[in-house]
Amino acid sequence: MALDNTKSTGFTHVGTTPDRPDGVDKVTGRARFGADITAPGMLHAAIVRSPHAHARIKRIDTSKAEALAGVKGVVTRADFATGLTGENWNILENVMAGDTALYDGHAVAAVAATSSLIARDAAKLVVVEYEPLPHVTDVDKAMAADAPVIREGAADTSVPKGLHPNVVRYHESGHGDVEAGFAEADLVVEDHFKTEATHQGYIEPHACLGTLGGDGKGELWCCTQGHWNVQKICAALLGLETANLRVTASEIGGGFGGKTAVFIEPVALALARKTNKPVKLVMPRADVFKATGPTASTSMDIKIGMKKDGTITAAQGTFRLQGGAFPGAPCEFTAMCAFAPYALKNVRQVGYDVMSNRPKQAAYRAPGSPMAAFAVESVIDELCNRLDLDPIETRLKNASKKGTKASFGPTFDRIGLVETLEAAKAHPHYCAPLKPGQGRGISCGFWFNHGGETAVSLALSEDGTAQLAVGTPDIGGSRASMALMAAEELGIPYENIRVTIADTATLGYNEVSHGSRVTYASGLATIQAARDAVKKLCGRAAAKWGIPEDAVKWENGCAVPSGPNAGDFDPLPIAEITKRMGATGGPIVGHFEATPEGAGVSFATHIVDAEVDPETGKTSVVRYTVVQDAGKAIHPTYVEGQFQGGAAQGIGWALNEEYIYGEDGRLQNALFLDYRIPVASDLPMIDTVIVEVPNPGHPYGVRGVGETSICPPLAAIANAVSAAAGVRLRQLPMSPPRILEALEQQRNG
């Protein structure tokens, strides 16, 4: 559905910033999150987890647990479907170990009891006999010849012969002749970078309540970014008919990609089936860290050649991603995003997906892109420093624009990178003086964005208000944006539209809320459903007036005659039509079901000022500006919130957050006390600039905004810290010990 030039300007509702429809529920406690759901007679569950990084499971004895008063059932892998293949098998193996525990925290059994205390006590009574196996948790070590093999035969056909079996997927792309390009350069910089795994850090832990009877029919309430996906996976893992499992998404206390996956829901359902009781399962925080999906960690080599005038002559990157004990680390997206901001004649990128004894990685906002940007933009910064070039002018000189052959192949349509760079250059932040000990960093970032399967329904009420049912959980204010778009089309007040996240029995399949797709795809679907409803409203007016349907148009919430021969009738307001709809043809409902395929890619440019204390190694981010192309900001303050949220999470990722594993392969910091996410006092005011270069693939020009905002921060902060410290930082997080170590190495030459 292309950009509607008749509708892309002169908006009445779009671009305004009304109160969020879920605001009162959230501040009064009325909103129901995953752990708030209860059912009569429900049981509570606890999961038994492996204390080993890698171990063969020789025997599981549940008898003592089952004998404890209050315990109603125990499940192990034997209680799930058999014969699964592909990704369903991977998910089941992650949800409940088979014959091998693959990481510290891997689930091996689960208990349901009449209280959570009894369930936790019973979990301790499950006896598991392990045979410890050699383990590996570092990506480079996992690729080495002597690394223990996580699972033989896990590699797909993309992997070249001769690589270690832990390398399970391979990506290579690019164009031109990079060696010839490097030969043309006046300066070539080549460097190595590492990033540690981080967690999305959502405050709400995973929680669900499931019922499943002997007739194979069940209900599930859970916090998720995509309940149709939960339905599909749980049905497969439990051997159910999909339609017999109805899934309802709760309010969600943060997801950021981490709730696109399934971890505990099949376990609750398996226990419910075994006990014939509703079973509630809430993950403790330590389990969230150990056994959900953090990001991949990376090891990256970047080589870029540049002429003295700033022209990039060639770029090459190798990206090794550790994604835990299963295939799936986003090596291809890391590689494809790495050089996307730049128009390059010669570029080559290689990605490796590597298994290790860690939890199965999950998406985290623009999976792979932030790490790639960290490495690439650090090298560009180094080139600018050594060639005495302005970092924004240099990026402008090389910037991708409409017609550029992207580093990953296709030709870009209309994109807004140049506009973000121009806006950053013009921003007062860019020329503001720095104090001693401070440094400034710049970075660009790129993300694809996505469309995906989408279905919505818009039902009109007798009083002319509207109920919009969408299937994409609201993870960033989408209900407000949907209401604004529906209001725009229907010509009725924003407050007259109630948006509900429908359950799986109500709408057709909706893909997960991921890929920054919701405001784009559900928004497009909302516009189309509203136009469908408007067409029906016009039809009712035409019938009342006795004129053809195409002689009626919709203006400001009313049907009006269109054209000189349509006749002279007073405008017919929506409520006048809907109050008689039962007698004039029945309920009026607008629908749209499709797979929108016009998601526009998005770019951002960030400016960061950082101050480093050379005695303690502590970094303070003192000023931060986000400039990003939103295509069209439907609800600008929500867009700004996405920009600021990406920057805030990026600050944590860059400076403090990391999964720390001991020599025993066990996670050392599975609590927020030891895994330090930024709090308000760690953050400066994050300034925002919304650039609007319309997406040709959306009627209002919308581009996704939720992920691109986390692409530049790691690099922008690293460039600022490196400038402030006077030494290049090549490993994240740039925690105080690492900064002190870098300063010490510099002093020692």
Binding site: D156, T157, S158, P160, Y170, H171, E172, S173, G174, Q200, F256, G257, G258, T260, P330, E332, F333, M336, R348, A362, A363, Y364, R365, A366, P367, F408, G409, P410, T411, F412, D413, W447, F448, N449, H450, G451, G452, E453, H514, G515, S516, R517, T595, E597, G598, A599, G697, E707
Partner: protein, 81 residues
């Protein structure tokens, strides 16, 4: 005929080619034509691919049209956060 660009990692599965000509008018025909011409691509396509047609990344819809002069790139399917 439509010229389909493969990412470099697929060359080994397509007799060393990084461009394959396919008779196709839709994305679905592009994919089925690729497998017919090079059966080794079946697993990679089954694992999930997107098809970029004239710069627009088609993630799912097999019915999207493709013209003889379209720029067509096979890409791995997007999974976002």
């Amino acid at each position: 005929m439509v010229e389909v660009n493969l990412w470099s990692g697929l060359r080994a599965l397509a007799d060393g080619k990084d461009k394959v000509e396919i008779e196709a008018t839709t994305v679905g025909e592009v994919l089925s034509g690729l497998v017919k011409a090079h059966p080794g691509l079946q697993d990679a396509i089954d694992a999930g691919v997107s098809v970029a047609v004239d710069g627009r990344v088609i993630a799912s819809s097999l019915t999207e049209p493709v013209a003889p002069d379209s720029e067509v790139f096979l890409m791995q399917r997007l999974k976002g956060g």
